[in-house]
């Protein structure tokens, strides 16, 4: 059965951008905990990125909901169903959005963001990234999506993408501030490994659980989606940033070389982050139920 999928490219963008917002905010908050004084521009970059990409993602989502665009008042019904992950998502996003804006305003007023506020923000960033995985993870129609691994994978990938975006921006506007954040940057060795392991687990677990999911996996590794999967996600999105980080580990933070690495590796991570969602959405193969 070849059905067109209800969700497509704009949902993939939305899942990516919401995760990116969460990761960018998380990077800001962690930088703030680590060294508030000397990372102010970097934090500002993170919060601005978070706000902008979250807004863009939500606009995409609204345009995809055509009956709502024709009657915008209906968007207020969105929080009607406590059993719907989407209703939960709207609540999470609303609170997260407010926290981003409030902390941004505090920073622009040149005041210190209270640690408790950033801690709550960090929690909501985590929920935001996780919910984008739960949203499609609860859908039984597509066995490839229907796993508890998806939220975990999306959280790791979101953090990775958000951190890449913040360091990428900082390479241009706050190069010196990155110096004190060595430990955070070191995560760039750990996150691609974790993400790769999670992807391998996702492929193995779903492929062995269900024939429809096995077909999804086949499409990714050897079928119509193999090129973007191997070249885009695996090589550009995971291997390249990881190896770049590994071979340049001794480059002095804050130098021009380090900034170039942040830009090149960061761009790779962002491409990979988007492709991960895109490929998972489009690899969906529906459950066969008429036997």
């Amino acid at each position: 059965m070849t059905e067109t999928l209800p969700w497509g490219t704009s949902i993939a963008w939305y899942l990516f951008l919401a995760g990116l917002a969460a990761g960018a905010y998380a990077t800001s908050a962690l930088a703030s905990f680590k060294d508030f004084r000397n990372t102010k521009r970097l934090q500002l970059i993170g919060r601005i990125v978070a706000l902008v990409v979250l807004a863009v993602g939500l606009v995409l989502l609204m345009f995809d909901a055509s009956a709502g665009m024709k009657n915008p008042g209906r968007f207020f019904y969105l929080v009607s169903n406590p059993t719907s992950v989407m209703s939960w998502g709207v609540v999470i996003l609303a609170i997260f959005g407010v926290i981003i804006i409030v902390t941004l305003i505090i920073m622009l007023l040149k005041k210190a963001v209270p640690v408790w506020l950033d801690a709550i923000g960090l929690l909501l960033a985590f929920c935001t990234a996780g919910y984008t995985g739960v949203l499609i993870g609860v859908v039984k129609t597509y066995p490839f999506w229907n796993t508890a691994l998806l939220p975990v994978l999306f959280v790791v990938s979101a953090f990775s993408a958000g951190m890449a975006a913040v360091f990428l921006g900082s390479a241009f506007f706050a190069r010196k501030e990155v110096e004190g954040l060595g430990a955070l940057k070191r995560l760039r060795l750990f996150l691609p490994i974790a993400e790769t392991l999670l992807i391998i687990m996702l492929l193995l677990v779903t492929a062995s659980a269900n024939p429809a999911a096995a077909e999804s996996v086949h499409r990714l590794i050897a079928g119509d989606l193999a090129l973007p999967f191997w070249l885009g996600l695996v090589v550009i999105g995971l291997a390249f940033p990881f190896l770049l980080e590994l071979v340049t580990i001794r480059v002095k933070a804050g130098s021009t070389g380090a900034a170039a690495i942040d830009v090149a590796g960061g761009a790779g991570v962002l491409v990979g982050g988007f492709l991960l969602r895109y490929l998972i959405i489009f690899a969906a193969v529906p459950l066969v139920f008429v036997l």
Binding site: M1, E3, L5, P6, W7, D64, A65, S66, A67, G68, M69, K70, N71, R74, F75, Y77, L78, V79, S80, N81, T83, S84, V85, M86, S87, V90, I136, V138, V139, K140, T141, Y142, P286, L287, F289, V290, L291
Partner: protein, 179 residues
């Protein structure tokens, strides 16, 4: 307080698609849109094979996944167990279309609302007529009725013909198939 359901006897179905046309007319659907679609399954082993036509539509699940995922409350189950969509609330997010394992939902081209089979309940004026697909079926392959009444035609037919939901316990379907 009824619990409406349907029985579809694929051994009687000849695959004429009259039910789909009747449904499209009853619900004023575009020619390219339809609440009913068909799966074809090869049955038997050579040389005794036949093509089984399996008409599919909303299974009116008691545990409808479309209802549990719908964020706006547009999707709901009425007092008679019919899964309905309030077209004044739906935003067209298509979450329900993903959640329904039977692909029973379509998005209305004009309104963007995610519609589906409603057992023709909107034509209901207090009396309960047979849905258009049932009354139009040339071979009598479809029976509509109240599952909560053990003496209704449908309840008796389900027992007599040993009818079963199409996908086992995938959902608590109220559409039963004889195959």
């Amino acid at each position: 307080m009824a619990s409406y359901g349907m029985l579809i006897d694929t051994t009687k179905c000849v695959g004429c698609y009259a039910c789909r046309v009747a449904c499209q007319m009853q619900n004023s659907l575009h020619v390219t849109d339809s609440f009913i679609h068909y799966d074809e399954v090869e049955k038997g082993t050579f040389p005794n094979v036949r093509n089984e036509h399996v008409p599919l539509a909303c299974m009116q699940c008691k545990d409808a996944p479309c209802v549990s995922v719908c964020p706006t409350g547009a999707s709901y189950i009425n007092a008679d167990g019919v899964v309905l969509v309030n077209s004044e609330r739906c935003i067209g997010c298509k979450y329900c279309m993903n959640a329904c394992p039977y692909h029973a939902r379509i998005q209305d081209q004009d309104t963007g609302v995610a519609e589906k089979c409603r057992f023709c309940i909107l034509a209901d004026d207090g009396s309960v007529p047979d849905p258009a697909c049932v009354s139009t079926c040339i071979t009598g392959a479809r029976i509509f009725g109240d599952l909560s009444d053990p003496n209704s035609d449908i309840s008796l037919a389900i027992i007599k013909k040993n009818a079963k939901p199409i996908a086992g316990d995938l959902t608590a379907s109220k559409v039963y198939y004889v195959r």
